[in-house]
Amino acid sequence: MTLDKVKKGQQIIIRKILDELVRAQAIRFGIAEGSVITCQEIVPAGPVVVRRAKQEIAIGRNLARNIDVELVN
């Protein structure tokens, strides 16, 4: 599934970031393919806020749509 479908509170693992520029940008923040993040908040029709370690990052819906993720159980 993609990041924009995630529900609040779920823990997810990043599978694939399609856009090359976004991938480079994300890896600098510490979000690479394989990293585990938590969905912190979802603004209706708006961005997804995720947390990795102590860092909160807001990701626009259109970007989130291009990030493949998987639920961690």
Partner: protein, 641 residues
């Protein structure tokens, strides 16, 4: 003793956004550049000298990559520097050490300032500094920049800057380029500007290098950081309330209401009522007239220049110090508090959806809000936006629709006299034009908004000393900039009035001022002042007596009037003279178009018997806004299908 012959050392302060670079810069150079709690405060290189060092403060950056204009700026300064002071946020080592390692891989001389140690401790993060030093191979100095902790040690250790341990697997890829290490690294990573500068083909190693670097950083962090779980702090809970959809919007509205109460009521009515009427009108003006009448006859030309309608010592001084200054200070105070709290990026997240329709993303909210302080500064901060298209749209919206603090100052005090429904209609018209401008530009320009990607700073209690210092500096800047311009403008108008030139211009402009806008022809003088700064224009307009509806139309027109000279210059600098001139002229024409439409609409409403004008005008504006949004929404639907 400083040996003057000794070579100056260029020391560049680099780090991720919002980690305290500017605090450290101010500390080293004893100056003040803006410090705020949101990523993207510093948008240009700022230099200051101290001893043998020339320090440069740079915009925050997550790597030497140049994805945005700010990052390119930081990259270019780093490439030219002798050494780098890398400021690192101790609470976000995983994120920040990526840049550190990037700098190390570029073979630069580095000292690391491990800043925000106080917050790390609060959050239960313990860092083994010696181990970190050993892993990186460069000196690491723990600091709490806002208290000055560690600053002396950092300054002392600048000469101990070293080249660190490069990421394994990178060096062997660089020897192919016969360039200095810093250049070859960037070229190998596909950096276009650096490749062009050296006349070689950009490489394709970015993905590989970034992954290697990320792995190495994760390894270092795992071996030096120990975390214990602490109860989530008050600040982080407030942060969640700000973002939660159910609580976030009410909180935003409450914040706006409080700002209105503080500025619109306490400052604009109570305080200004006192400074303008009692201090300036009741004490200063009689005093200065009395004083002058000892030297000059009240019928003379000099008298009318100095103490007449547009008099230098009467109108100019009263408006500047009795009306504008208290309000500008009020606005700057509120903005400083907002900037320091960490609320701005969260507002950006909440507003993202709305701004996408205007061809922007949520991040553009930050320049827009800063615009209510000073449009000139805000125009510069559009550099934080992701694409040129977004910068253009943001600059036009700022120049056309956002009134700066000085102008808001006058508008608020005028509105206070006109009453609630006038203020409501005014606010709605402003908002509608703002949104429509964005939507129309977004439709006209090819491309689509870049996606939001913003890191949220922690919510912090604003530091009183920083808030006061910033308010003070911005207000004195305002006075320094405004006084000569205002004095020049007032003088110019007086001369025009005396020579009869003003009357000629007034008569010439009758088709616009009287026929189109329905205002007295004397307002022409106000618009002339408006070319210099909009708030002078606003002030100038109201030296002419008008009825409430005329005042309203005049306010609307001058709100959308051309931006002040300082802003115009920045626009020309950022967009080139062709685009700059096009923007300026369009705004000039559109201001009268908007004013004309509003004026004619009011006359139409007036024909209907028994209706009150302003509520109806507000209603019509809401309908127009709804229509614009509906058309745009339908368009988006059909586009995405």
């Amino acid at each position: 003793m400083v040996d003057n012959k000794e070579k100056l050392i260029n020391a560049t302060i680099v780090g991720n956004p919002n980690v305290g670079k500017s605090v450290i810069f101010n500390n080293f150079t004893n100056t003040y550049t803006d410090v705020s709690n949101y990523p993207g405060t510093t948008v240009e290189a700022i230099c200051g000298r101290s001893g043998n060092f020339v320090f440069s403060d740079t915009p925050g950056t997550y790597g030497l990559s140049g994805f945005t204009e700010e990052e390119r700026l930081a990259r270019d300064i780093v490439l030219r520097s002798d050494m780098v002071i890398n400021v690192v946020d101790a609470t976000h080592l995983e994120r920040d050490l990526f840049l550190t390692q990037h700098l190390i891989d570029a073979g630069l001389q580095i000292v690391v300032a491990l800043n925000l140690m106080d917050e790390a401790e609060e959050q239960g993060i313990y860092i083994n500094v010696e181990k970190l030093e050993e892993e990186l191979g460069v000196p690491v100095i723990p600091t709490v920049a806002v208290n000055g902790d560690g600053m002396e040690k950092l300054l002392k250790l600048l000469c101990a800057a070293r080249v660190g341990n490069i990421t394994p697997g990178i060096m062997e890829n660089l020897s192919y380029y016969k360039l200095p290490q810093r250049e070859s690294l960037l070229v190998a990573e596909g950096d276009l500007d650096t490749a062009n500068r050296n006349n070689c083909k950009p490489g394709n190693r970015r993905d590989l290098f970034y992954r290697l670097r990320r792995d190495r950083v994760n390894g270092i962090v795992a071996s030096v950081v120990r975390e214990i779980t602490v109860e989530s702090s008050m600040a982080s809970r407030i942060g969640h309330i700000m973002l939660h959809p159910v609580t976030g919007i009410p909180m935003l509205l409450l914040t706006l209401f409080l700002i209105y109460q503080l500025i619109g009521v306490v400052v604009a009515q109570t305080l200004v009522g006192y400074t303008e009427e009692i201090v300036m009108g009741g004490m200063y003006q009689p005093f200065i007239r009395n004083l002058l009448s000892g030297f000059i006859s009240e019928q003379s030309t000099i008298w009318s220049i100095l103490a007449g309608k547009y008099g230098l010592f009467t109108m100019a001084v009263t408006y500047l110090f009795g009306l504008l200054l208290p309000l500008v200070m009020g606005f700057q105070l509120v903005l400083s508090i907002l900037e320091d709290s960490g609320y701005l990026p969260r507002i950006a997240v909440l507003m993202d959806r709305i701004l996408l329709g205007m061809g922007l993303n949520g991040q553009a909210v930050i320049p827009m809000i800063l615009g209510f302080g000073c449009v000139t500064m805000a125009t510069m901060s559009t550099r934080m936006l992701g694409s040129d298209r977004e910068k253009f749209i943001a600059i036009v919206i700022l120049a056309f629709t956002v009134p700066c603090s000085a102008q808001m100052a006058i508008i608020t005090s005028m509105m206070a006299g006109l009453g609630f429904y006038y203020a409501l209609a005014y606010g709605l018209i402003l908002f509608t034009i703002m949104v429509s401008t964005g939507i129309i530009l977004s439709r006209l320009l090819p491309g689509s908004p870049s996606g939001l990607w913003i890191d949220l700073p922690p919510v912090r209690l604003p530091r009183l000393s920083n808030v006061l210092k910033k308010t003070w500096i911005k207000s004195t800047d305002f006075v320094q900039e405004a006084v000569p311009l205002f004095a020049g403008g007032a003088l110019f108008l007086s001369v025009l009035e005396i020579t009869g030139g003003l009357e000629a211009i007034e008569n010439l402009l009758v088709p616009v001022t009287v026929n189109l806008l329905g205002l007295p022809k004397e307002v022409a003088g106000g618009f002339i002042m408006g070319f210099i700064r909009r708030e002078f224009g606003t002030a100038g307009l109201f030296t002419t007596p008008m009825n409430p509806v005329q005042q309203f139309v005049a306010l609307i027109t001058v709100t959308f009037f051309v931006p002040c000279i300082a802003t115009a210059m920045i626009i020309f600098k950022e967009r080139g003279w062709k685009q700059g001139a096009a923007i300026w002229l369009s705004i000039f024409v559109l201001a009268f178009v908007v004013g004309g439409i509003v004026s004619k609409l009011i006359s139409l409403i007036n024909i209907m018997p028994g209706v009150s004008v302003m509520p109806v005008l507000s209603g019509i504006t809401v309908l127009v806004l709804a229509l614009v949004l509906y058309i745009n929404w339908n368009g988006e639907e059909s586009l995405s299908r």
